[in-house]
């Protein structure tokens, strides 16, 4: 019934010192071998479960549109695919950024994730503000905090223009420390 422990179980008959030390040896042997067996199974299992932390994904550049499709001064939501989505990710593989064409060849890409708790901020074009639907965070057009609880400005993603395409570099969801 009971798990083997280091003390010999009472058998009702007197045990010689030799018998005692044999029991103690067998109990310790069983525990040690059992522990080793458990490790053989659990170490790779934990490795499998914790896999997302090993090795950073290679970030990639994603085209989000032709350069001429963006008007100077306008800020629009652009969608692109994550760096290396799993085949069954479906629509969850998508990410978005707020992309602004500042002038002929300068773009800024803002994260859509509020730095407070990650909710998706919306750009209000007339008001020149980003507003968060969750807890009322507001950012100015340059991404600095205008009001509410966000502790940091909206993060920016690397953008470049290549062969007439505007490209954004994929990035992890920014997690505020």
């Amino acid at each position: 019934m009971k798990e083997p422990n280091t003390e010999p179980a009472s058998t009702g008959c007197p045990s010689s010192p030799a018998e005692l030390s044999r029991r103690r040896f067998l109990a310790r042997l069983s525990l040690a071998v059992g522990g080793a067996g458990a490790l053989i199974v659990t170490v790779p299992l934990m490795g499998f479960i914790l896999a997302p932390f090993f090795g950073r994904k290679q970030e990639v550049w994603r085209s989000v549109g032709k350069i001429e499709s963006f008007k100077i001064g306008e800020t629009t939501a652009v969608q692109y695919e994550d760096a290396s989505p799993l085949p069954w990710a479906g629509v969850t593989a998508r990410s978005a950024a707020w992309l602004r064409r500042v002038n002929a060849d300068t773009f800024i890409a803002f994260s859509i994730n509020c730095t407070h708790l990650g909710c998706p901020v919306r750009w209000l074009a007339e008001a020149n503000l980003f507003m968060c639907p969750c807890h009322g965070g507001v950012y100015y057009e340059d991404g600095t905090v205008a009001a509410g609880p966000p502790p940091l400005p909206l993060p920016r993603y690397p953008v470049r223009v290549k062969d007439g395409d505007v490209q954004i570099q994929t990035a992890p969801i920014p997690i505020t420390k």
């Binding site: 939501a77 994550d82 990710a89 479906g90 990650g118 969750c134 997690i175 420390k177």
Partner: protein, 470 residues
């Protein structure tokens, strides 16, 4: 051979070979204090709700696909097409609600009656862990719906975990299942919701019940009869020996009646309302989203919104940690003395304050006045009171510049900032200009965002906002 004799012979054989019927019978008929009445039903009701969750959860798993690309469509299939699917999802949702509610009532009852004291410290401690597991189940269950709300709930959870010192980024990665929400997120939460947490709950319910049997169901507290660890066990034994009644059926019938009544309520709600509505598809690139937690965590949404800036780490990380430590430590620190709530006014105060706090937070969260109103429509001509000129232009600006998202005027707008329906009663023109240009803690500064002409029009509009309009 008569049927009765066959029955008895079969039973005797099973008893001989397994020993189970006798053991179950003895356990079911163990003696309990005679006055354990309706106050004692919440624990078994929690277990009953958990069993509903197990059977409805298993049934849902017959159709559910735990994949980011399929979960949402299987949820739609279950809700809209599968026979009884709508009802089944409702059962699982209201069953979860009942479980959270019953855990809360059970905990409050045990706390008020001082039943956590010697020798039942570990009954309480395992119960606290079960409360934690139940909340994790509620949270992960909401995610498995795989809709837009689920995606943003994962992100919000990861951001909260990210505030933990040292291991924050690591925890956030663990929750997301990688750098972003994606294919790995849902399979992992499925494993947690369906295997890991239920495994823990089964194990700890077993332990919890074993402890209840080992120490006996606590007798109703009597004022002036404190718990003394030196004498308690002998006194309890004496009480049970003299006045104890068999749990089955003398006491168990109330548990049965209450559980069945609870199931009836759950079934009725499920039949009428079905499962919680599904949101948009789980596409993280759709920026029009207003994530909200399920009702049992709604109050926490208010905590997140109302915690002062800069204190996030205390509220999100240390707060829950401290609450958990206090709850676990409670029976070890106060394991003796009076049990009756009449002699423990602070116990009553703690329960009342907790309920009031959660209820207040909950009401605040439902209203969520801190969220901008993105659906505010341009003000109507009757409200504006002008169809041209600066007042009219100012009213348009008030909408377009986002003022109306946070300020209320007459019958529309947001509740984040002050109600400006009659702002001209309290602010002069210059005060308004100062306020608009410079902003405040919760208001953007508009100095760089308005031309002088626009500012004039906006202020003209606001100056026309009087309680008694001429």
């Amino acid at each position: 051979m008569s049927l009765k004799r066959i029955y008895h012979r079969v039973l005797a054989w099973v008893e001989d070979r397994t020993g189970l019927p006798g053991m179950i019978g003895r356990t079911a008929r163990h003696l309990v204090p005679p006055d354990a009445k309706w106050w004692y039903v919440f624990g078994s009701a929690t277990l009953c709700a958990f069993m509903i969750q197990v059977v409805t959860g298993v049934a849902l798993a017959f159709a559910y696909i735990p994949s980011a690309s399929e979960a949402y469509s299987t949820l739609h299939f279950i809700s809209d097409q599968a026979p009884f699917g709508h009802f089944l999802r409702g059962l699982h949702y209201y069953g979860a609600s009942a479980m959270v509610l019953m855990v809360g009532l059970h905990m409050a009852q045990v706390f008020l009656a001082g039943s956590y004291k010697f020798p039942r410290e570990l009954n309480w401690a395992t119960g606290v862990l079960l409360l934690g597991f139940t909340l994790v189940m509620g949270f992960t269950g909401q995610l498995l719906r795989g809709d837009q709300n689920a995606v943003w709930t994962v992100v919000v959870a990861a951001e909260q975990a990210g505030r933990a010192p040292f291991i924050g980024q690591w925890l956030a990665h663990f929750i997301l299942g990688g750098d972003t929400v994606g294919g790995a997120t849902f399979t992992r939460f499925f494993a947690i919701h369906v295997f890991i947490m239920p495994g823990f709950i089964f194990a700890f319910v077993g332990l919890h019940l074993w402890l209840v049997l080992r120490h006996g169901i606590s007798e109703p507290p009597v004022a002036g009869k404190p718990v003394d660890p030196k004498t308690y066990r002998a006194e309890y034994k004496e009480l049970i020996k003299k006045k104890g009644k068999p749990f089955w059926p003398d006491s168990a019938w109330r548990d049965v009646v209450f559980c069945v009544a609870m199931i009836a309520v759950i079934a009725a709600l499920a039949l009428i309302y079905g499962g919680p509505p599904l949101g948009k598809p789980p596409d993280p690139s759709i920026t029009t989203a207003s994530p909200r937690p399920d009702w049992y965590l709604m109050w926490y949404f208010a905590v997140l919104a109302l915690m002062p800036p800069g204190t996030e780490q205390y509220f999100l990380v240390f707060g829950p940690l401290i609450v958990g430590i206090i709850l676990i430590a409670l029976p070890f620190v106060f394991n003796r003395g009076e049990r009756s709530p009449r002699r423990r006014p602070w116990a009553i105060a703690v329960v009342v304050m907790t309920v009031v706090m959660i209820a207040t937070m909950w009401v605040a969260a439902v209203k969520s006045p801190w969220s901008p109103n993105f659906n505010a429509q341009p003000l109507s001509a009757s409200v504006v009171g002008a169809t041209n000129g600066p007042v009219f232009i100012g009213a348009q600006l008030f909408h377009d510049k986002g003022c109306l998202n946070c300020h209320w005027i007459a019958n529309d707008g947001g509740r984040r900032g002050p109600d400006l329906t009659a702002v001209a009663d309290r602010l002069s023109k210059n005060q308004m200009i100062l306020k608009i240009a410079n902003g405040g803690v919760n208001m953007p500064a508009y100095a760089a965002n308005l031309t002088p002409a626009e500012m004039d029009a906006l202020v003209a509009f606001l100056q026309s906002r009087k309680s008694q309009r001429p």
